[in-house]
């Protein structure tokens, strides 16, 4: 119970901070919308082509939008010393970190899932494919937040950390991208999305078990 209340407290605090400064959330969201809007402008408006690139395009936009929020995950708390207090607290740091990661997903990942149908319609995706896309994003975006947190913790206090995070984290996003976009593509091809979604879920379980732990280790190194 103690652990759960610590987790909820960290989650609540981060959500509260976000609600006090709403523009930050909206920035990532608008980034997602703008990137997905620019793609057809660059590639051309043929519905066949758009339908084909839609899963990949939306997933890549989601990766980039998640990256935007990663910077904020620990930087402010590191700057004002809150992170040190968290490390000193009697609750395990990994639980607090898990709360912060969950908050990051609720702020940066979940809105993308909810927005996906609108963008999917722009790309002329069939309705059932939009359902699969939402499901794949729902499983995949927490994975992005978990892996990204490791990168954010490692680059804390490093020079040029904003760019560095993307260099570290994007190669690790490859499996998520493949299975996430692949689920929608194979559904459209009539092969069924279940295999991809199962693998995505397996990766999520794996990351949920290990990523908070690795993030904590990285944070302790940054706090030395």
């Amino acid at each position: 119970m103690m652990l759960l209340s610590a987790y909820v407290a960290a989650l609540r605090r981060d959500l509260l901070l976000v609600m006090r400064r709403k523009t930050e959330v909206l920035t990532a969201l608008f980034f997602f919308v703008i990137v997905t809007t620019l793609l057809p402008l660059g590639i051309g408006p043929e519905p066949d082509l758009l339908r084909k690139i839609a899963p990949g395009a939306m997933w890549i936009a989601a990766l980039l939008a998640t990256l935007l929020g990663l910077q904020r995950l620990f930087a402010a708390d590191h700057a004002d010393g809150t992170l040190e207090q968290m490390a000193l607290s009697p609750e395990p740091l990994s639980i607090l970190v898990a709360g912060k990661i969950t908050a990051h997903w609720l702020v940066c990942g979940l809105p993308l899932v909810l927005l996906a149908p609108v963008i999917g319609l722009q790309f002329d995706l069939p309705t059932d494919a939009i359902g699969v896309l939402m499901l794949s994003l729902l499983i995949g975006t927490p994975l992005l937040s978990l892996l990204g947190a490791i990168g954010a913790a490692l680059t804390l206090g490093a020079r040029g950390s904003a760019l560095l995070v993307s260099l570290l984290v994007l190669p690790l996003y490859v499996p998520t991208l493949i299975f996430g976009a692949g689920a929608v593509e194979s559904h459209i091809a009539g092969l069924g999305a279940a295999g991809h979604l199962y693998l995505l879920s397996a990766l999520l379980v794996l990351a949920a078990a290990f990523a908070p732990w690795a993030t904590t280790a990285a944070l302790r190194i940054s706090l030395e």
């Binding site: 490791i150 490692l154 680059t155 206090g157 490093a158 020079r159 040029g160 950390s161 560095l164 260099l167 570290l168 994007l170 190669p171 690790l172 490859v174 499996p175 493949i178 299975f179 692949g182 593509e185 194979s186 693998l199 990766l203 290990f210 690795a214 280790a217 990285a218 190194i221 940054s222 030395e224």
Partner: protein, 247 residues
Amino acid sequence: MINWFKFSAPSTFYPLAGKLIPIFWTLAALFAAVGLYIGFFVAPTDAQQGEGYRIIFIHVPASWMSMFIYCVMAFWALMGLTFQTRLSGMMSSALAPTGALFAFLSLWTGALWGKPMWGTWWVWDARLTSELILFFLYLGYMALHAAIDDPRRADRAGAVLSLVGVVNVPIIYFSVTWWNTLHQGASVSLTKSPSMASTMLWGMLLMALAFWAYTIAVALMRARSIMLEREGNTEWVKHLPDVKEAV
């Protein structure tokens, strides 16, 4: 039994590395000479691929080494995080540029081989793609290491990153393989190549040994430079014969 921890201190490792470096340079030169001789003069011309296939004597050992070095880096990372030895981080960061070099070499030679054989510089084959991502992982490690000013912190952050990377490399490989079979992208498969003449295999193995010895020699040289750089103001460095002469 040898007390390994004795050599985990830079002051004892530095002279040991100095003795080992010429040995491994000699080994590298010998293996490379014999391996290249076999590769260019002894190994028969391939029936399908002609003379162009001879690039595999560089290409295959280079890709082996690029993957192996990442594992060695992760091993040193684990040692460094567990035993808090200074040497481990130095070895990790000394190995990274060589690993990146081999990854790049394997991609480059692969492209040179692919143009005449497949008619294209690049296909989205699973092996090519995962090798490219491995190259990115090396670059990420080096960028992170360079971005943190305190060397001890840089070592430990790099250690965590390389451990996360080593867990991810197989996942990335399998996901890319699966992605590739779904897309049916590459029409040519490396695995379907005809079985190799044993001289070719020997040439490749000798070149792999040559690269191995080269990696050890270069990594030790780099580690020695890192030691001097980081521990320049300690007593043992001031008492080194080379340093005394220079002063």
